[in-house]
Assembly symmetry: C2
Homo-oligomer: 192 residues x 2
């Protein structure tokens, strides 16, 4: 079927995500009910929960894609690189993913940081990411605890760099902030 329209408007997930971000921004996460989001998207509450396991998850539709990029990139780095260099190169590549998304990232981050439950969900997504990165490093022959520590360090750098990038409206790219954070971590670990 080409161009044919189904029984319903297409892209239900996209409409739900847009509606949720808008309502969470306007009225706050707690003050927004799942039924309101669904109504704004032209759907019912039941359908909302068919697409997303809970009210929070609707803000994390991109998490799977991010993990894919992280893992694929790390897995594609040359085996000769040290773990930290592989991670540095991965962060460089991942930063490109956000090049056109500064404004979206800003709005989404503002919503998440305003609510504890959403911050919890963000943290477990990052933890899952760290876990996947550690597994990828182990597949490359990195032993534990080095694999876990490299993954955790990479995520820490990503968190700190990302937060600072989102908090500034200047010209510097995410890649700039990630490089700065990684250099900072190396300096700290070296005892400076």
């Amino acid at each position: 079927m080409i161009g044919g329209m189904g029984r319903w408007e297409p892209n239900a997930r996209g409409r739900l995500e847009q509606a949720a971000l808008a309502l969470y921004s306007e009225h706050g996460f707690e003050q927004t009910t799942a039924a309101q989001i669904a109504e704004r998207a032209g759907l019912t509450e039941r359908t909302f929960f068919r697409h997303y396991a809970d009210k929070r998850e609707v803000l994390f539709g991109g998490a799977h894609a991010l993990e894919e990029i992280f893992v694929q990139t790390l897995a594609g780095t040359p085996d000769t690189a040290t773990p930290i260099d592989a991670m540095a190169s991965t962060l460089e590549t991942v930063a490109a993913f956000f090049l056109e998304r500064h404004e979206f990232a800003r709005q989404r981050q503002a919503v998440i940081m305003a609510n504890t439950e959403l911050r919890e969900r963000e943290l477990i997504k990052l933890a899952s990411l760290a876990s996947a990165l550690a597994a990828t490093l182990r597949r490359r022959g990195v032993k534990d605890p080095a694999a876990s520590l490299t993954a955790e360090a990479g995520i820490a750098v990503f968190k700190v760099g990302f937060e600072r990038w989102v908090g500034e409206s200047g010209e510097r790219t995410l890649a700039d902030f990630l490089r700065e954070a990684l250099d900072g971590l190396k300096a700290v670990a070296a005892g400076e």
Copy 2:
């Protein structure tokens, strides 16, 4: 009043925490209702929610004390130490806190790791801890992003070391695992 008994049995919080850990261990977190915990503790569901904001929080009664120890110890470290050395010394002190609690930590960790919502709560407690440590470092004159990165690195070391300590039943203390993890992080950051 010394030794006097109130209108009710004392230590309601302690009874709720014990009952919750036992029921979560036996039947799982999701299969346990707040009413069941309260009943086992000789209280009502409403009273449970007066002591704990939600079903998860009852497993984290010690988090405040842990943050206190972390922050007090870090704040008490000599100003001449580098941030990473201050953090290393803090981890050493904090490890003593768990010396007599290996079995309890094991059981609690098993319950938490078995459930996603509980893992989320654990992660936000650690994030709050990292935030407090970063603030303490800033008060000592450490600039950002070094302060945030040192705090995140310290928590990463704590996480990795703690998980490995809990996963082994041998003789090695938590302090041993934390030293090993910190050394591992330094090696990773140095590019080994």
